[in-house]
């Protein structure tokens, strides 16, 4: 068998890495829910959750426990399999993206040099896009299986919104790819070492990408699929217990992952500015890299929340107008400009 011919150490190493990455992103998503409530409270001159544990730090555990103990309700007239498949898919697609992200440089452990990336595939960016475009299935299937008008409307909104903004996102990405000349996320990070970040070359592209990331994560001001004052709960109206928890959790994981992607693509990934990593021992450099990446991610997550509590939701036609008639032409213009500049400097 070919499976046995693979280096066993590599398999164990990757398995451990997968477990660590998945549990870390789960824990981070958990504390993102806590941070969301805290940030919301602080921006609104309130205190936020402060009862469970010191500073309310155990609040996400309490929330999760509550969701676990809630009653499971499956609507009578819905397809039970699809109803369960919906949140499962949403959660899975949210977790899958983390496979290609370079979390840090190599570390030396037990005499092995371990890369802190689950899979360095040569089409990393496209993989991210593929998984993101699949993210809508969980919402659509769940909403359809709910057999509820409001759910269905939420699901349809999610589908059309994500398709519309994926285009602008893809085109803004093409401009970035012209600059970097590679699809591998690892190589992109290596190109951006020492403060040579892509955002300097692609400010407009980054802005478009940021707006589209908000839309892809269904975050305010683009949270129309779950607009609670028009559609009750949108696609998760009929969900209860941990299945609802999965939907809500997937949103926070998406937010975390898209923050990581933005940090990796535009802000140098695990590159810590003003620190020369070559002078440090590899383990120390990797640690600093992870800290730098997490710092950037925290900034982005705060931005997500900050915007959520500042900008009201778009109307549906405004959303479509912004996506198709502003962002896509702008992204095309950005692509043209980038191509022109690259051509000019290469000749």
């Amino acid at each position: 068998m070919m499976l046995l011919s693979i280096d066993l150490g590599l398999v164990i190493e990757k398995l451990v890495l997968i477990v660590v990455v998945i549990s870390a992103s789960l824990v981070i998503a958990m504390y993102t829910t806590f941070a969301e409530r805290k940030v919301a409270a602080i921006l609104q001159d309130r205190r936020g959750p402060n009862r469970a544990g010191p500073f309310g730090l155990l609040q996400p555990l309490a929330d999760g426990l509550k969701l676990f103990f809630k009653e499971e309700i499956i609507p009578n007239l819905s397809s039970k399999f699809l109803f369960i498949l919906g949140p499962a898919l949403a959660m899975m697609t949210a977790m899958m993206t983390s496979a290609v992200i370079p979390w840090g440089d190599k570390i030396e452990l037990f005499g092995r040099s371990i890369s802190l990336q689950i899979a360095d595939i040569n089409i990393g960016v496209l993989y991210v896009f593929g998984v993101v475009s699949l993210g809508v299935y969980g919402i659509m299937i769940g909403s359809w299986a709910s057999n509820n008008k409001f759910s269905l409307l939420g699901g349809l909104r999610a589908a059309s919104q994500i398709i519309s903004y994926e285009l602008a996102m893809g085109i803004s990405m093409i401009a970035l790819l012209m600059v970097t000349g590679t699809l591998s996320l690892k190589e992109m990070v290596l190109q951006q070492q020492a403060g040579n970040w892509n955002v300097i070359y692609q400010p407009l592209g980054f802005l478009i990408f940021l707006i589209c990331a908000f839309a892809e994560c269904n975050r305010t001001p683009f949270d129309l699929p779950e607009a609670e004052n028009e559609l009750i709960g949108g696609y998760h109206t009929e969900y209860s217990s941990m299945k609802l928890g999965f939907f809500l959790f997937a949103e926070y994981i998406n937010m975390f992952i898209s923050s990581v992607i933005m940090a990796t693509l535009f802000f140098g990934g695990y590159d810590m500015p003003f620190v020369n990593e070559t002078l440090l021992s590899p383990n120390m450099a990797a640690l600093i890299g992870i800290v730098a990446l997490m710092g950037k991610v925290i900034c982005f997550i705060f931005l997500f929340m900050w915007v959520r509590w500042t900008i009201p939701r778009f109307r549906y036609d405004q959303l479509m107008h912004l996506g198709w008639r502003i962002l896509i032409p702008l992204a095309l213009f950005n692509m043209l400009l980038t191509g022109g500049v690259i051509l000019y400097f290469h000749k």
Partner: protein, 174 residues
Amino acid sequence: MNFTTLVFIILSLLTVVSAVMMIASKSPVHSVLWLIVVFFTISGHYIMLNAQFLAIVNIIVYAGAIMVLFLFVVMLMNLNADSEPIKNYRIQLIGIISGGVLLLILLSSVMSIDKSQLVEMKVGDEGLIKSLGMNLFKNYLLPFEISSVLFLSAMIGAVVIGKKEDEAENKKVN
């Protein structure tokens, strides 16, 4: 039997079964979902042929965009047994004949395959982004550009159709 063959057999079985399920399932939404599974398994085949780029583009374009639109339309129309078109005897007969002809063509083409030229797994770089780009933009530039004109005309057509309805509605309101 080595590992690659095993994976190939499992993938192929999945592909065929889900393709059959797509035709056989009663609910149109289930059909669309089975079709998505088919796209995934085909992407798996692409990966086995060392064509990761094609695999991921297949997922992005077909599973990620086109099938979402399909699902969108099917969910909106809410098809059920009442809205199914009446199938008369003649249409069924024509369907059987045309399907049978297609089956014959497929069978004959499969039979005529030269068995000595088997597909090699995990080698070759035809499906990788570099060689694909070279092929598209060097060897087949003209067909590529012509097809892009075709897409452009399709897009303009869609816009024109959309605009017409818009104007008619505006007239009604006024």
